[in-house]
């Protein structure tokens, strides 16, 4: 497991997001001045040009916007699981909030736990949280 690539868990901007994942909560960055959500997170709101932001729990419900199925050559940890699905999930709260992830059979199931060819654009999914190395990452199950 520890050979998977991992996000940066030391960036003060995004620490709250990763802490949310650890608690089983999907948080999105929102700038109160404009009310706009931003993903991926950033220092400045392009609408209001303000810096003050908050982390807001969202439903964790979304739909598959696209899907790719990588085959080797890949990095070793991923080669072992290929072919697997990588999806972009559009969140219910705002169609421009799209996250890269994987559809899996259950929170702790591997990347190849569903037939990658069965994953379709438009499928409804729900966030789950998986321990990967020393972090907790969002993944998606069908709902």
């Amino acid at each position: 497991m520890s050979d998977f690539l991992l996000p940066d868990d030391t960036d003060p901007l995004t620490i709250p997001f990763w802490e949310g994942c650890r608690r089983g909560e999907l948080l999105m960055q929102r700038f109160p001045a404009s009310g706009s959500f931003c993903w991926p997170p950033r220092p400045m709101d392009p609408v209001s040009r303000t810096l003050e932001h908050e982390w807001v729990p969202v439903s964790g419900r979304g739909t598959v916007w696209s899907v790719a199925i990588p085959h080797p050559p890949l990095l070793p940890a991923y080669t072992d699981l290929a072919p697997y699905n990588v999806v972009v999930v559009e969140l219910e709260e705002d169609p421009t909030l799209r996250m890269v992830g994987n559809v899996v059979a259950a929170a702790d199931a591997p990347l190849n736990s569903v037939d990658p060819h069965s994953v379709a654009i438009g499928e409804p999914v729900q966030v789950v949280f998986a321990e990967v190395g020393d972090m907790v990452l969002p993944r998606w199950v069908r709902r």
Binding site: D8, V67, L75, P83, V88, R139
Partner: protein, 386 residues
């Protein structure tokens, strides 16, 4: 139209390229110097006259090392453009700006790369802990550029009814052109639609033949003023218009996080390119479109206005991209997919050859030559004219 300060004021007068291959013995520095030396010989300009250098931020060779080896004099202008394959036409455009504004008189622009060995795969050389923007995609197994473009491709197919047959149209057209170009890596290897359909998957929906080659090689061009160009031996390829493009809320490669992800950087570059031009897409008889991956062709055809949005895939039907009878012969030397992948700089040289009348798939009456750099990343484009 008001005054366009750089329009037709400069020209590409010299071109040079090394052999393309896998595992070439020469170093990247040696390859760069050979290509530059050939480009200078091509136009009969002495190295001591070169006073400007332009390349990619990803170029491995420094100006100082190139200048030392080729025997250049005082270099008083130098510049680099970022974003990998998006840079090429921007590099040439900046060279044209430098010459048109008098900041330089003779600019060499080049790209050298040894990409063919497995050890040089950029995506494989990453730290486990990712600190840049790719931390929001790579941990989930979206590791390589092909995976990133595969996600956009699947969505494009879903929205517009594009199919693998359309992508095959692209791959087959470029292979046919490479089969006519002795310098092309795939000169002797034909490709059939059946072979394409049976090609192994790299990242579904993209197969092996939707991907560019991995190439060692180098290419260079020489840019001077239009006045100087008229006294030189080669037919000048005048730089008519050039533009770079980053659209609002763009994410390089993983452009999934805004309102309209399929509206890529080419749309931004196109607006400026045509605004500063006497021509429209209807005037373009030959194109060199950046093809790290086959789906970038329909996206570019749409972005630069050769068809309506969503029609780029259908545009490729009926041999539209094929020399000599297609409505827009494209990548006439074979492109990144079948000639060589040197970050798209070989497309610039083929654009010049079409103006000179020396392409191995020469389009008759090609008095306007259109070249693009990478779609999916901050990009650039060029219009050359006779």
């Amino acid at each position: 139209m008001g005054v366009v300060p750089i329009q037709d004021r400069t020209a590409i007068v010299g071109i040079g390229q090394t052999a393309f291959g896998k595992g070439l013995e020469d170093s990247e520095l040696s390859l760069a110097c050979q290509a530059i030396s050939m480009a200078l010989d091509d136009c009969g300009i002495a190295p001591s006259e070169v006073d400007g250098l332009a390349s990619f931020t990803m170029e491995p060779n420094r100006e100082v090392d190139v200048a030392k080896n080729v025997g250049l004099g005082d270099i008083t202008w130098f510049s680099q453009v970022g974003y990998g394959g998006g840079a090429g036409c921007g590099v040439v455009t900046q060279a044209a700006m430098a010459v048109a504004t008098g900041q330089a008189e003779v600019v060499v622009a080049w790209r050298a790369r040894k990409r063919a060995s497995k050890a040089s795969r950029p995506w494989a050389n990453v730290a486990q802990r990712i600190e840049d923007g790719s931390q929001w995609s790579r941990p989930w197994g979206l590791l390589r550029p092909v995976d990133e473009i595969a996600l956009l491709t699947r969505r494009y197919m879903h929205e517009y009814g594009a199919t693998r047959d359309h992508l095959a149209n692209v791959a087959l057209a470029f292979r046919k052109h490479a089969n006519r170009n002795p310098a092309a890596t795939m000169y002797e290897k034909t490709l059939s639609r059946e072979q394409y359909m049976e090609g192994r998957w790299i990242s579904e929906p993209l197969c092996l033949f939707d991907n560019c080659l991995e190439t060692d090689g180098a290419l260079a061009v020489v840019v001077v003023s239009a006045e100087r160009a008229r006294d030189l031996p080669q037919v000048p390829a005048y730089i008519h218009s050039g533009a770079q493009g980053i659209p609002p809320q763009h994410n390089t490669m993983t452009n999934y996080f805004n309102a309209d992800p399929l509206l890529g950087p080419s749309w931004a570059a196109a607006k400026q390119l045509w605004k500063r031009s006497d021509f429209t897409p209807a005037d373009v008889k030959v194109a060199q479109l950046y093809d790290a991956f086959s789906p970038l062709i329909p996206l570019s055809l749409e972005g630069y206005g050769f068809c309506e949005r969503g029609e780029g895939a259908a545009f490729t039907d009926d041999g539209a991209l094929e020399w000599p009878h297609g409505r827009l012969p494209t990548n006439t030397a074979g492109g990144g997919m079948s000639e060589a992948y040197v970050h798209g700089f070989n497309l610039v040289l083929e654009g010049v050859r079409q103006i000179r009348g020396t392409s191995t798939s020469q389009v008759e009456g090609a008095d306007v030559s259109f070249v693009t750099s990478g779609e999916g990343v901050p990009t650039s484009a060029l219009l050359l004219r006779k």
